[in-house]
């Protein structure tokens, strides 16, 4: 059975997303991109547009799993809180559409993609481009928000397949 995984790197200005169709033998990149919003728009409008955008992607690709990276508090507490608004919108979609929501630490994502939890952002991007040469056709793939969204989506597919193997072995 195929699962479609939506990987998201949320942000009020730019939010990256990836869609990977995943079976036991493949992890196919289906869609990749970002949602850009003007900082002059109000926060409710931006949260609402983010919700609507991700909702459309979920319907379009029949998504069954959302994958997210666990954020850590940076220098700005208010930015961190606003990140929570967007994460809340994804939690809500997970509840409303009965989707599984998986969270991974940055270390888990880097470990899954490169095999090394301490890998740098560039290293992660290099491995992603080596895995998916088609990424060169996506102009957006040069953006960190987009490769981050792809990294976390891919981490989601690995974990899912690991669980299936464990379930079969058990």
């Amino acid at each position: 059975m195929q699962n479609a995984i939506l990987g998201v790197d949320p942000g009020l200005r730019v939010a990256g997303y990836s869609i990977i169709a995943c079976s036991s033998s493949s992890a196919q990149l289906i869609d990749l991109g970002f949602l850009e919003q003007k900082s002059t728009e109000s926060i409710p409008t931006r949260v609402g547009c983010f919700f609507d955008f991700m909702n459309k992607k979920i319907i379009e690709h029949n998504v069954s799993i959302i994958a997210l990276e666990t954020p850590f508090l940076g220098k700005n507490a208010q930015t961190f809180l606003k990140l929570g608004y967007l994460r809340g919108a994804l939690y809500l979609l997970s509840h409303q559409k009965n989707l599984r929501l998986s969270e991974f630490s940055p270390r888990e994502v880097k470990q899954a993609v490169t095999g090394f939890g301490g890998a740098g952002k560039d290293q992660v991007a290099r491995v992603l481009f080596a895995m998916y040469p088609a990424l060169q056709n996506f102009k957006c793939a040069v953006r960190n928000d987009v490769t981050d969204a792809l990294g976390v989506g891919l981490c989601g597919t690995y974990k899912l397949n690991q669980e299936k193997i464990m379930a079969r072995a058990g």
Copy 2:
């Protein structure tokens, strides 16, 4: 014209709410209470139930304004982030239903209710009970989450009336 204001003190375990019907000559307490959720429930479920609950209150009382207190980062960054999920749900409702969302600092709320921005929680509660003797009929009014939600809702009504007066004067 009457406006109904929903004041919320969001929380994943307990979320307080108040509904005040406000005209230029009165601020009538219509509804007051809290939503309690089990900590054994998943975060998506709790965010979803919080959204559904507030949505129902908005429809039931024809709410046009949501009033919220600006949170400050406490000791626990993850609790602060999760508070962001619930605030995100309210931002989304504000966007979806075209409601105004007003935020007030804790100081503004205390100032509006007691006339003194440095007032303690007990002092705020005492003033609220003096303003609304009917609060004694609400068992829930002994809870901090509920009086906080009433305080921020009331602050919302004051600001609204101030604006109306300013608009008339202007």
